[in-house]
């Protein structure tokens, strides 16, 4: 009685012909957007390293071995060791966790808050808009790095405080763009028509405004990801981000690294390459995403 139809599914999907399999889609993406694919590869690699850091290395990122201070890159320590004899590659791999955590949380919270304020400003208009706009003016004019610096000094050096310090300056920038987009959506005739049909304010915002600002929101989110990773590095470099012994890429380049750089240039070299490569990957990926989401830039 047990009749099996193992091929039913395959034939069914084959009859819907032009649909590409996942593999074919990947190949198409690599063909048409080689730079974007390279970026995606870097991002995936970084995620992989961050998740499996503990399995990929047998060294401890915090525990140094003083007999191994400033060891040159070798088969044992591929990228050499730092002034405490800690394996540099291990610290860079664990550093990917910090970079990704700060990058994702700071850009997500900053962009989302900014987008919400932008929609609020555009849709409610009137006094709310006027007030929010002035507030955004103030935050925009306030020098970004000094704001982050001050927030970091108030909250103290810890990874989650760095997130706050980086996220706040993002808010007004995103709010501006989203407000402008939402305002132009609001002026569209179909929105007027929907309102005339008796749609509630909530419905208009949720069903019509929000979907329309998703593209600029996503574009800014990916752009901010790289920027947030850089900001964390800069803050840590200035000694206001994460604190020792956190394996933050920026921190690894600060103070001691540059003073030992002559003796052990690898200390100053590899963390910088890690930052550059990571941000580079996110930017390439974000660029292709923007090209794909913005029909004006599509070639054709």
């Amino acid at each position: 009685m047990s009749v099996q139809y193992p091929l039913v599914h395959v034939t069914a999907s084959e009859s819907l012909a032009p649909r590409l399999t996942f593999g074919e889609q990947v190949v198409k993406f690599i063909r048409t957007k080689p730079l974007g694919a390279a970026g995606a590869l870097v991002v995936l690699g970084m995620l992989f390293v961050a998740v499996f850091a503990a399995a990929l290395t047998r060294y401890d990122p915090y525990q140094g071995d003083y007999s191994l201070q400033f060891a040159r890159p070798s088969a044992e320590h591929w990228l050499g060791t730092d002034e405490f004899g800690r394996d540099l590659l291990t610290r860079i791999m664990y550093g990917a966790r910090i970079a990704l955590f700060v990058g994702f949380t700071a850009s997500f919270s900053g962009c989302t808050l900014g987008a919400l304020l932008g929609v609020l400003s555009a849709y409610w208009g009137g006094k709310v808009d006027l007030l929010l706009e002035r507030l955004m003016d103030i935050l925009l004019a306030f020098p970004q790095l000094i704001l982050a610096l001050a927030i970091a000094s108030i909250l103290g050096p810890a990874v989650q405080n760095v997130v706050v310090a980086i996220a706040i300056p993002v808010i007004p920038r995103v709010a501006r763009v989203v407000r402008a987009t939402a305002l132009s959506v609001k002026e569209h005739q179909y929105v007027e028509a929907v309102q005339a049909l008796g749609a509630s304010r909530r419905r208009v915002v949720l069903r019509h405004i929000i979907p329309n600002i998703m593209a600029p929101y996503l574009i800014m989110l990916t752009a901010q990801l790289g920027a947030a990773i850089l900001a964390e590095a800069a803050l840590s470099y200035l000694g206001l981000g994460t604190a020792e012994p956190t394996p933050s890429w920026g921190l690894m380049l600060s103070g001691s690294a540059s003073s030992y750089a002559e003796k052990a240039p690898w200390i100053a070299l590899f963390p910088g390459i890690a930052i550059s490569l990571g941000v580079f990957g996110f930017n390439l990926f974000g660029d292709s995403l923007r090209d794909a989401l913005d029909p004006k830039l599509r070639r054709g």
């Binding site: 020098p143 000094i146 910088g272 004006k296 830039l297």
Partner: protein, 318 residues
């Protein structure tokens, strides 16, 4: 136009008042006591209470916040930023010592990178999806990805190791010795400028790409105009608006770039001054610097908005 200008200038007042208040509050909220730092101790136990109170009185920090706030605002109206709590010198004087260096760095970095970036962006757009485009894009995305402080570290490392060069400690203004000034500024300018050039190149490329798809460009091609004329005379001018806006918003990043670059190259400029002042809890200095930088940002952006009409005569201000 006049009404628009008056409106914009009037709006500067609440913005700057907001900035002045925000920086005042932030500085008071930051933990740490200047008086303690000046007396040279972090542990309150080691310091004579009376000495501390005397220091507070001397610095004017014994007064209630509201009074201090009033003094700060009243001083602003008279362009008097008070004295540094650390050196006792007027803040304006301290600022004037450091301003020429930072201004030179900022102007050179902006100028050089705009001069390089706009032609490069145009070229990449005109040759979209060719190797020229790919090279320009990779180099410019690199400029966004490579932290400027790391570029600075590498430059110093190379110069120190291979050329035995150490960064000079004293700033030589260009009007004293242009060559010495050039030697001192060329690397910091490259460090700051790379990022600036990268951002501007990308923006130029994408806006020129958009404009090149417009109907009037097709008309220009149909008329048989040369590519150079089309790209430079027809496309570029219309593509410049977003690029100019960007130069304004990047002003904020420029300040960040100055802070980091001046720290790396141990240059005695405004950027490093502000970081030190925050660390020292030197309230009047931080307040004054934030105010001046924010005012610069607001004015630069106002000027940029006003240049729109020049680039695009269709724009009328209301």
């Amino acid at each position: 136009m006049r009404i628009y200008l008056a409106k914009r200038i009037l709006l500067i007042v609440p913005t700057m008042l907001g900035v002045a208040s925000l920086v005042f509050v932030i500085m008071r909220v930051i933990p740490g006591d200047v008086a303690l730092l000046i007396l040279g101790g972090d542990q309150a136990g080691n310091i004579d209470r009376e000495q501390l109170t005397a220091m507070h009185r001397q610095l004017g920090l014994d007064q209630p916040w509201l009074v201090q706030y009033g003094t700060w605002l009243w001083g602003l109206l008279r362009f008097d930023f008070g004295n540094s709590l650390w050196t006792g010198q007027p803040v304006v004087q301290e600022l004037l010592i450091r301003l020429p260096l930072s201004l030179e760095l900022a102007f050179l970095a902006t100028g050089v990178s705009v001069l390089i970036a706009i032609p490069l962006g145009m070229l990449a757009a005109a040759r979209q999806d060719t190797w020229v485009d790919y090279v320009v894009r990779v180099v410019s995305i690199g400029g966004l990805a490579i932290p400027s402080f790391w570029v600075g570290i590498l430059v110093i490392l190379l110069l120190v190791i291979y050329f035995g060069w150490g960064p000079p400690l004293e700033f030589t203004p260009p009007w004293v010795d242009p060559w010495a000034n050039f030697q001192q500024m060329v690397w910091p300018v490259i460090t700051v400028g790379y990022r600036y050039a990268a951002v501007t190149t990308r923006m130029t490329r994408s806006t020129v790409l958009e404009v090149l798809r417009e109907d009037y460009i097709r008309t220009a091609w149909a008329k048989g105009l040369a590519e150079r004329v089309i790209v430079i005379r027809h496309a570029l001018k219309n593509a410049m608006l977003p690029v100019i806006t960007l130069i304004g918003t990047e002003f904020a990043f420029l300040i960040g770039g100055l802070v980091v670059t001046e720290t790396v190259f141990t240059l005695n400029g405004v950027g490093r001054f502000v970081v030190d002042a925050v660390a020292h809890r030197d309230y009047p200095v931080v307040q004054a610097l934030v105010f001046v930088i924010a005012l610069g940002f607001v004015i630069v952006n106002l000027l940029i908005d006003l240049t729109y009409a020049w680039f695009d005569p269709r724009i009328r201000y209301r």
